[in-house]
């Protein structure tokens, strides 16, 4: 496995820090501690692309160049960062004109990018490089009886299907099953959570959030597992709003890495479980009950 440079992205040092904490803890527990990419910058997300395309590619490419300098691949847990970096990587390879412009700009600050960086996602690394077998062996406290709805969000499988099926992704399902939990069928697993619309157009965003939560509940899930800080924010923090407007039972929303961490026997505190707005206590209690 090529060395991985961990690129957390802005959300993971902000409101999504539980994702950051739990990922670091899980990888450490599995004997592959994460090393952060030095002085990484924001990927630009969808917003920058809406303003200036060339600069957006330039912005994202700095991270690629930094990773190449360290001779590493990028490990990118956030869906938006993953897509932006992957899109940039592809575009620089395909568009000679943009590739030239960006390389020229990188040159101005003494950076180089030859195109030798892969963008990787923790789900991919955990299922392919680490492998479910190793994870199964490392599970200390199996989550028997816990029913999980896996929610992948959009940009991890669209528009590029890089490491998983575009319509019915399975990597998270497999990881969650490795913990001993039950994964419920969740047809909305790649449907949009509303992204920033929850803030900018609440009536639209909240309705999308409601539908995802309601479907998870209807499918009998105890907890919703997510892989994107924005999805987590929408489904967790805006859940109270959705509940005010619609008939909905609360459901905790955890990062897959937090669930994995619990199964690996990492203390809840270290996984940032208490950072959930919707209490994840029912999940913890279930684990405790099982341990007893």
């Amino acid at each position: 496995m090529k060395k991985l440079a961990y690129y957390p992205g802005c959300s993971l040092v902000g409101t999504g820090r539980a994702y950051d904490e739990s990922l670091r803890a899980v990888f450490e527990k599995l004997g592959e501690p994460l090393e952060e990419l030095d002085d990484w910058n924001c990927c630009g997300a969808t917003s920058y692309m809406s303003i200036d395309k060339a600069k957006a590619y330039g912005l994202a490419s700095r991270n690629l160049a930094l990773a190449e300098r360290e001779n590493s691949d990028l490990l990118t847990p956030c869906n938006a960062c993953y897509l932006v970096l992957e899109k940039t990587r592809r575009h620089l390879a395909e568009s000679a004109e943009m590739g030239h412009r960006v390389r020229h700009a990188l040159d101005a600050v003494g950076l180089r990018y030859e195109g030798d960086v892969r963008i990787r996602h923790p789900l991919e690394v955990l299922t392919q490089d680490v492998g479910e077998e190793r994870i199964k062996e490392a599970v200390e406290e199996p989550l028997k009886g816990l029913k999980i709805a896996p929610y992948y969000g959009c940009q991890i499988v669209r528009p590029y299907a890089t490491f998983d099926d575009q319509y019915h992704p399975q990597t998270m399902d497999r990881l969650l099953k490795a913990t001993g939990a039950k994964v419920v069928p969740y047809p909305f697993k790649t449907r949009c959570c509303g992204a920033s619309q929850t803030g900018t157009l609440p009536e639209v965003g909240i309705h999308l959030v409601y539908r995802l939560l309601n479907e998870a509940k209807a499918r009998g899930a105890d907890v919703l597992a997510v892989i994107c800080p924005l999805c987590q924010f929408n489904l967790d923090v805006y859940q109270s709003k959705a509940r005010r407007e619609y008939d909905l039972e609360p459901i905790p929303v955890l990062y897959f890495s937090q669930i994995l961490g619990l199964a690996l026997g990492i203390p809840a505190k270290k996984l940032g479980i208490d950072r959930c707005v919707v209490s994840a206590n029912p999940v913890l209690e279930r684990r405790a009950a099982h341990a007893a």
Partner: protein
């Protein structure tokens, strides 16, 4: 009331050419109106023009309808349409291009928070290299109506309670390099 009819005079051939010259967008000419883009769009129900209609209006050069449409600001870039399209039209990328052009030409609805968010986001990143979510939201609220702040109280309290709220201004060491770099990339020439 003005009848909802468009005429030849409303068409801008330049706009039609521009749309179909976007990378991959020449396929818009092959659109067969199956409507899968609209049907699969999670935000379709809130749109004034459906993605299918936008593609069609764009291809015919109805510039004002397209750029003035609310729909382009609703797009969350979930890429469902792009993946579904049987003609492989890059609908999401065209939406991006439409947003950029609308901002460039200043034709979007001014009080709409979405373009403002994009603009503030871009400024923050350009200045500091990273986003500080709290500051981004504060700036957004200042621009789009301070009264909205009241609706945010509960949410902010939730974040504070769970230790997710921070007023720290994130930044990077290579700020100056980044600024020079973005300068060197040059501004957007839509020709790419």
């Amino acid at each position: 009331m003005r009848p909802n009819i468009r005429t030849e005079a409303d068409r801008s051939p330049e706009f039609a050419r521009w749309i179909t010259s976007l990378p991959g967008a020449e396929k818009v000419r092959e659109c067969m109106h199956c409507g899968l883009c609209s049907a699969s769009c999670p935000l379709f129900a809130y749109m004034d023009y459906s993605p299918r209609q936008l593609m069609h209006l764009g291809r015919e050069g109805f510039r004002d309808d397209v750029l003035g449409s609310f729909s382009i600001w609703l797009c969350t870039s979930c890429y469902q349409c792009t993946v579904e399209c049987p003609r492989q039209i890059p609908v999401t990328e065209i939406m991006y291009a439409l947003k950029r052009r609308a901002i460039e030409e200043g034709v979007y609805t001014k009080h709409l928070p979405i373009p403002v968010l994009s603009r503030e986001f871009q400024r923050l990143v350009t200045d500091r290299g990273r986003i500080s979510e709290s500051w981004l939201v504060i700036k957004l609220l200042l621009k789009t109506g301070i009264h909205r702040m009241f609706g945010m109280v509960g949410l902010t309290w939730d974040l504070v309670r769970t230790r997710r709220f921070s007023l720290r201004k994130e930044t990077i060491r290579g700020r100056k390099d980044l600024a020079r770099m973005l300068e060197a990339v040059g501004s957007d020439a839509e020709a790419v």
